[in-house]
Symmetry: C2
Subunit: 308 residues, 2 copies
């Protein structure tokens, strides 16, 4: 049995890629089941509810003798705690290659595109495997989510082409309206505690050998999130201490206006934001301009700054 899962603090791509790739593996003759490594965010809840499908179960223990397929991530810090003891046999991802290594040759497919959904769509087409309407809807949602409906600089021509292709199979109606509903769902954060807001789209990266937590809240209503700044800064402070981090950043990305305002926790983070990004800082908010992609704009800048 192959256990298929995306990263912790899953987003729509991490959840749907696990579901679609598990189905792909089954349809090509391999026993596989999708799992998730955490709570759904509001956008993903909306996507699954609109598709009329249940979320995959949370991964607890890997069944004995099972192998692993990683989707939408490859770094151990973003994966299941037991990853070291399990046998990774498949990876489909669109992130940089981190600390993964294997004892034997495996199947890996990485492409620098906007979403794992784009790669999975290509894999179906290459295998001449007809994409099922549910899978089409899930992959289309993932691409719209990861690319912020093509606003993110991670968007590639292939993402656009694949969305047009999937739209013919998935019955979602007008793409712009559907993306708007997804982003509205994601921005409905009224009952979400500050801790959860920080962790909703949160990854730990190593820079110069030290761990940094990088959270992002993508929203159509940044004013609401900024109104909770003091709560969020308190949550960041607790997380930094508990997880022994060198720094924590939380970026509030305005999806519609394509801006990034990042909360500044302490003088440590302030120095990094000023020196690495040349960010203007007012109070506890750093203006990161239009750097709306953590993967393409924030992480590479920090890597260059820290020299890793």
């Amino acid at each position: 049995m192959i256990a298929v899962f995306g990263h912790t603090n899953p987003d729509t791509d991490a959840i749907t890629a696990a579901m679609v790739y598990a189905n792909f593996l089954r349809r090509t003759g391999k026993a596989a089941a999708a799992y998730r490594l955490g709570e759904l965010n509001k956008e993903t809840e909306f996507v699954l509810r609109a598709a009329g499908v249940e979320a995959p179960p949370v991964l607890t223990d890997l069944p004995g003798g099972s192998t692993v397929a990683l989707v939408d991530h490859n770094e151990s810090a973003q994966s299941a705690p037991s990853l070291d003891e399990s046998s990774v046999k498949f990876v489909v991802d669109h992130h940089k290659l981190g600390d993964l290594s294997t004892n034997e040759p495996i199947f890996m497919r990485f492409e620098p595109v906007g979403s794992t959904g784009t790669i999975l769509t290509k894999m179906h087409r290459e295998a001449n495997l007809a994409i099922q309407p549910l899978d089409a809807r899930l992959m289309l949602s993932a691409i719209l989510s990861d690319t912020l409906h093509f606003r993110s600089p991670t968007t590639t021509p292939e993402d656009r082409e694949v969305v047009s292709y999937l739209a013919q199979i998935a019955d979602v109606g007008d793409i712009g309206a559907y993306a708007g509903e997804m982003f509205a769902a994601k921005s409905d954060l009224g009952d979400v505690p500050a801790e959860r807001l920080l962790k909703m789209d949160y990854k730990v990266f190593e820079f110069a050998g030290k761990p940094y937590g990088l959270g992002v809240v993508e929203t159509t209503n940044p004013g609401y999130v900024m109104g909770r700044a003091s709560e969020l800064l308190a949550a960041m402070d607790r997380e930094k201490a508990e997880a022994n981090l060198a720094g924590v950043l939380l970026s509030v990305v305005d999806i519609l206006n394509e801006t990034n305002k990042t909360l500044v926790l302490s003088a440590t983070e302030e120095k990094v934001l000023r020196e690495a990004f040349g960010a203007g800082i007012e109070g506890q908010v750093a203006d990161l301009g239009s750097r709306i992609s953590r993967k393409k704009q924030v992480v590479p800048t920090l890597e260059a700054y820290f020299g890793s």
Copy 2:
């Protein structure tokens, strides 16, 4: 410009994969050129001569601003010395994933198949790119070489299927006869110095943090190679000292009878061969039975033994 190259001590797959992938990249709109990281072996010389094509030039310095496509390898110890300073953007490989990591998402395609040629053939078919007869001949040769004409346990059903497919495009006549000519060329070692014999198909691996050199001579005439054992052991001894290795193994693989006799340099290697493989040892020769694949049989056994 993308510089495309395979591993040091190149074999037929490393050379031909660089040539074919560079052509693939050019045909899909990217400027690319193939290089090699060392001398051709006799088999590869035969393959290129029979195809009527020149070998790619040896890579000296990477041209400024060039990016890199790795084929048939991914570990820095098997690659260009300047790899750290260059920007790897593409990897096509069928080996285990080693120490590679990247600062940005890249294109990677790994499959656990017998040869990089098999993956490259699939990539052409997936892209609906007609395979040119020269490329077909080169990839077919690489698959026959890496799989020892399907005798190696690394052989997969896809390798066989791809060879049948390529045979229709490449004009090589009877596959068995062509493979026989390749292996005879490879076994014509009369004028090859012992140093070169050791290094012809030679890779350095880390086990428990220490470097081990693993050479293989695949031949239809193992008696000839074994007749040069004392010369070869002297070359192994020099290499071990010069490269500061924890151990050196040289396996003489009888292609036709599918056996592996490995030269035993010192008590260190003897202990490993006895304990890891349960090998019977006579004089300076360890009997590794039918373990003819370094990748699939020798390296994983050593990894398990050393606990890495």
